[in-house]
Symmetry: D2
Subunit: 215 residues, 4 copies
């Protein structure tokens, strides 16, 4: 792998769905993710990446799924399975603890929370692309949940929209190793230019060398 | 599975990348797809679906990847792996046999060819969504290549854009069974409301019952 | 003009920015709009259209501008004049009366509020297109504010996205007759298939004839 | 007006619809544009801007309207007036002189031609946004035709998408002074951060001072 280098003027961290329902003990979907998440050290790694990005003065963006509100789906004529299941589970219910960002991931002043997305991609039907452009961003470092749905979808959209993506493979999780494999080994390699570990990323961000964009 | 029913006023067939380079003997990528394609009876099934859709008077749309032209990528500052590999392989080269639609899939008068896409999704940076709306389409039946890249990407985008998707699982192919599994068993079930065989689809389209949209 | 007919299954009313800051006495921008608005009978006409649409069982959608929140623009590298002026005026400030929908236009159960937009178009960087598709809508009846910015922008986007637009010319307003003329007489005629009065619309919606889509 | 400065790494020239049908003697729409175009010195100014941009090593992009092809509109259920009129006039007919770029504006190697657009905006349903991002562009200098349709639409979309726009007011034209006024005096000032003359732009591009982006 070529040396990882990032120019902070054009690089941002994108944190996907750090909701209590996904990554906190007691969250609605945590039990389905816990096995892979703990084996992968997912939550501590997400925090390490966030911390390193802030220290390196990278801009941080949050892509958040629609928080469930009563009436969201009742009138729809067409609904995708992933939306039907969000409806049934009431995941990330608005105004509840499950629909709050896990405390340690609380956005800070100057960090950008994109409009909530209705499907899996943080870009679809939101202002994420606009916000990235308003801040001059061309490269994204991606962490978060769930690997084969929101993460993969957001990485695919990022590539289709012209962004360069670095995926942090041990700062994500999924229902099973099979799901992780489909996302990280089968699909994301076509869309992310680098797939690295938290440690590799942290080292790259904290290196003393001037952080210039790799050619 | 609920009975498959389609209202032809709002349903279309979407054929993805039926290029010689993908599905004809001698095509640049055919050798990598051949094993799975033949086991799946992919090309004959794609033709059966196309034939049934035309007989049922469904509108037919084609989503086609960018045909390689010299100069396409030289000036890009950012390039996704899937694009770098299209550049290297010169797949679907403009003006060549490999970049032509396989003869039996030639679009007929009244069928719509969307603008060419640069990545994997037939919707990204093209007029496919516009053309579907101009024709009043809300439901898509999807066949074509390659399952885990262009097909999955197009199905994901279709769902994010609000379309209802029926995936024909034996009218696609991929490099390996593992790739097919990631696309058809792991990911597409979250975005397509039905995943059926060619025979199930053909039967649904040719049934004498009035073809009304399912509730 | 051909007889106006609307099929309620595919037609919706789109109400643009009915904020107190725009259309209520005491609103931040009301004084700049008042002259044209009152001459045009804008607010009573908007209400008549809303009432007629609800009676005719049309689905109602709301396109709302970003409510100003502290920190919205400080970090942007690029900002359009229309956004700079929203920043300066703090129009539609979040949590204030000015940023609330005028009371008579309060959305009812089953009506859809799109995500807030950052510029002028109700479609740009929001879920409006998705929500319209999820409800099977192809035709829009448009009322609201301001004619040459948000209304014209939303009409232009609607047309580019494939929607059929009917503009209600006496249910909008602007800073001056010159602005109204630019929007209603110069530009919108290229994008809306009909530009009619409130009375013409109300009559069409309340006609006893079966409301079928015009050919 | 603040001093115009452009960083060539992030600035591009966007040339809109330099078709013979628009700007050449004998073109289908030339007679309707000629009066304003000649008074404005439109075509020579467009050439001066193009020449200055190339000398300053700015990347050049072309936004081109759909070239008319038989069958384009026959199957559409919905059609905007601007499209109906393109259908009637067969403007920019594919394969004809009228649908060719005027000779002096022929794109050179390394310049980018976006996919053709179906309405007025060079961004709608095309790869223009993608191509700009692939080249790292954030600021656009805009010239071309017609002021109140394709030019205004493209400027509006550019602003909604996050681009900074400089409009060259004497390198465009329209049917009448009233149309020019609506575009250049009423609407574009809300979306372009600068509206300048050809001479002001040429001077800015040819200045010896290092071309850095203005704060």
């Amino acid at each position: 792998m070529a040396t990882l280098k990032f120019d902070k003027e054009i690089t941002a961290l994108l944190v996907i769905d750090p909701y209590n329902d996904f990554i906190s003990e007691g969250g609605k979907i945590w039990n389905r993710l816990k096995g892979v998440a703990e084996a992968n050290n997912c939550v501590p790694n997400m925090l390490k990446v966030l911390d390193a990005a802030r220290k390196a003065k990278l801009r941080v963006f949050y892509a958040l799924h629609r928080r469930y509100r009563a009436g969201d789906y009742e009138t729809w004529k067409y609904i995708a399975p992933v939306q039907k299941s969000a409806w049934l589970s009431k995941a990330f219910e608005h105004g509840t603890w499950g629909g709050a960002i896990r405390e340690e991931f609380e956005p800070q002043t100057g960090e950008i929370i994109a409009l909530e997305h209705w499907g899996s991609s943080g870009f679809a039907n939101t202002d994420l692309d606009l916000q990235l452009k308003k801040h001059g961003i061309h490269r994204l470092i991606v962490v978060g949940l769930i690997a084969h749905t929101c993460v993969e979808a957001t990485v695919r959209y990022a590539a289709e929209l012209g962004y360069d993506v670095t995926m942090i493979k041990d700062a994500t999780a999924d229902y099973s190793d099979e799901h992780m494999h489909a996302a990280l080994a089968v699909n994301i390699p076509s869309y992310a230019t680098a797939i690295v570990t938290t440690n590799e990323l942290v080292e790259a961000l904290s290196s003393h060398a001037p952080m210039k964009q790799s050619a």
